[in-house]
């Protein structure tokens, strides 16, 4: 009988191999898609730290993504020589600072109040991005040139090559997701889950609910900012679409459809959403309608999202039964 641990490791290894050799299997167009999926997977995971683990629904989550995106774009344009890592770190820090600012107002609130106050801040930042033309160029947006990276052993790699961009994105996204995973394993991560269940009791146990939630919010903002920076790198362009209501709504749809109760739910959500979008936008321009209907069905009948259909435990039991 195969141990569950070995089974899980096996699956993980298969997925890792698949991701590593993807550029050799599929055409270039699909690598584009895969890169986008990776970015939204990271964005979704950071969103779900709040929705799934802290029990907060940030409706205006694009604020953090957008600020990261603009920070990265400004770095690329005004300080072109900066190493990519530094630029992305600054994008992430911009997300973090924005999260601290927004969070200090919002995390005291719960449920609908929290959801809509974050939306208000996002709309505010959207207006700023729209009107502050000297810096952001308004809704015309700004073009960005992907930098070269100097990798020891490989020499200068141009990110104009989509495969190189894919690997860089893969590395950063995996690191980000790993950081989120490890964060949840810390005592702080446990305290957060405790607050999702009952924050009054958590505060009686001596936890500082406000500070803890603010920390999670900021950490999520850090990851969302990094995702925003990667998105600019990927699009070679930044505009108000990175910080508008649709971006906020998109991430809500992705995470709910993927499943908020499991750690990798948002990854499934981003994958499904973007693959579906890629396929159906050839068929009809009204694809948001189908996505909306699908979303309603998931909210009403499939609370765990798509990932709840993908039950590895059941596969494992089935495999074991075959061996007997």
């Amino acid at each position: 009988m195969m141990s569950y641990r070995a089974f899980q490791t096996g699956w993980g290894g298969l997925v890792a191999l698949f991701l590593l050799f993807l550029p050799m299997i599929v055409p270039e167009m699909k690598i584009h898609l895969a890169t986008e999926i990776l970015i939204f997977a990271l964005f979704g995971i950071s969103f779900n730290l709040l929705l799934g683990y802290t029990g907060l629904l940030p409706f205006g989550y694009a604020a953090l993504f957008g600020v990261g995106a603009y920070a990265a774009a400004l770095m690329f344009n005004h300080l072109p020589g900066t190493p990519l890592v530094v630029t992305l770190l600054i994008a992430a820090l911009a997300g973090l600072l924005t999260a601290i600012f927004i969070g200090s107002f919002c995390v005291r609130l719960r449920g609908t109040y929290f959801a809509l106050l974050t939306l208000a801040f996002q709309m505010f930042l959207y207006t700023v991005a729209m009107k502050w033309r000297d810096v952001t160029n308004g809704d015309d947006g700004m073009g960005v040139i992907r930098p070269e990276i100097d990798l020891p052993g490989f020499g200068n790699l141009s990110l104009m090559n989509i495969n190189n961009l894919y690997y860089v994105t893969l590395l950063i996204v995996v690191l980000g997701i790993l950081a989120a995973y490890l964060f949840l394993k810390t005592p702080l991560g446990n305290a957060v889950i405790c607050m999702r269940e009952n924050d009054e009791r958590a505060s009686f146990l001596g936890y500082n609910v406000f500070l803890t939630k603010l920390t999670v919010f900021s950490f999520a903002g850090f990851l969302a900012g990094a995702a925003g920076g990667l998105f600019v790198l990927f699009q070679e362009f930044v505009s108000t679409t990175t910080i508008d209501v649709h971006m906020s709504f998109t991430i809500v749809l992705m995470v709910i459809i993927g499943g908020k109760d499991r750690f990798l739910g948002p990854v499934i959500g981003a994958t499904f959403f973007l693959l579906f979008q890629d396929w159906i936008s050839d068929v009809t321009v009204y694809w948001w309608l189908f996505m909306g209907l699908f979303f309603i069905v998931v909210v009403l009948y499939l609370e765990g999202g798509l990932i709840s259909l993908l039950n590895l435990d059941r596969v494992w039991l089935w495999v074991n039964r075959q061996e007997k």
């Binding site: 719960r110 609908t112 208000a120 709309m123 909210v299 609370e303």
Partner: protein, 288 residues
């Protein structure tokens, strides 16, 4: 001369504020009663405007749309409450919020599918076209009509809530739904009615806004954002608070555009943030 500019601008603000309150009142009533912030409300408002367009253009009668649109949207609201929202109720407020969000998206896309993405003009009915002289300047009659009409609707609503048995039940259910249920009122039916009524009110606001703002698929989202600011400032669930806040936002936008056009949109968010820092529950809201 300058005084009359300010008066005119104040009138513009008042008209927009009243319109805003007409939309926000249904939203805040449903929120106070069911604890659901109904994001689909904005889509009901938009549907009202689109029905006004279809009725006015194809049947040539704007007045008819004042009856047709609220009726149809009201029925739609009742159906959505009965068959979708009630199912989401067990999932808690977040599930309900997500559901109304999904409905908002689907309705917006349906509007795009049926009427297209381009803005559609709705002609002002002939009796109400033109301007009247006003303090040495002129003022569009249709705006005065909006003012008058919303005032009538709001008075009617206030009378309904304060003076009738249904109104008493609704107010009682807002303050303690379980107790009203225990005393023998069918609260789910009451909820369904209020939800439908709120939808009809939003549609009515959409109809009278249609000739004034023209009709386009983004109007729902615009209204949602403004209404949301209104009910946050006024205090969730408080009708009178929403009234004050709607007039404040109306005037703020009107004078903001006059003085600092580039930042007009920023003002209302600043006002909201200030209110939330000073009084986190809004001007007249009770504690969550």
């Amino acid at each position: 001369m300058t005084v009359s500019i300010y008066v005119i601008q104040a009138m513009h603000g008042l008209v927009y504020g009243m319109l805003l309150f007409l939309v926000a009142s249904g939203l805040t009533l449903v929120f106070g009663m069911m604890g659901v912030l109904n994001l689909a409300h904005a889509a009901f408002y938009m549907l009202g405007a689109y029905f006004a367009y279809t009725v006015t253009v194809h049947l040539g009668n704007f007045w008819l749309s004042l009856i047709v649109a609220p009726l149809m949207v009201g029925v739609l609201g009742v159906l959505i409450e009965r068959f979708l929202l009630r199912k989401a109720h067990k999932g808690g407020h977040v599930a309900e919020l997500l559901l109304t969000f999904g409905v908002f998206y689907v309705l917006t896309e349906c509007v795009r599918l049926i009427w297209g993405s381009n803005p559609l003009p709705v002609p002002v009915p002939p009796i109400l076209t033109g301007d009247i002289p006003f303090m040495g300047m002129t003022y569009p009659i249709y705006r005065l009509f909006i003012l008058l009409f919303s005032a009538i609707i709001l008075t009617g609503m206030a009378l309904l809530l304060m003076r009738t048995r249904i109104g008493i039940l609704v107010r009682a259910a807002v303050s303690d739904g379980e107790m009203v249920d225990a005393l023998g009122t069918n609260v789910p039916v009451l909820f369904m009615g209020v939800f439908g009524g709120g939808a009809a009110l939003a549609a009515l606001a959409g109809v009278i806004a249609a000739p004034f703002l023209s009709v386009f698929p983004g109007m729902g989202l615009d209204a949602l954002l403004d209404c949301f600011v209104v009910i946050v400032i006024g205090g969730f669930g408080s009708l009178f608070g929403a009234f004050i806040a709607a007039l404040m936002i109306g005037e703020l936008q009107s004078f903001g555009i006059l003085w600092i056009p580039r930042l007009a949109m920023v003002f209302q968010f600043l006002l909201m943030v200030i209110v939330l820092i000073v009084r986190p529950t809004g001007l007249l809201g009770e504690k969550e």
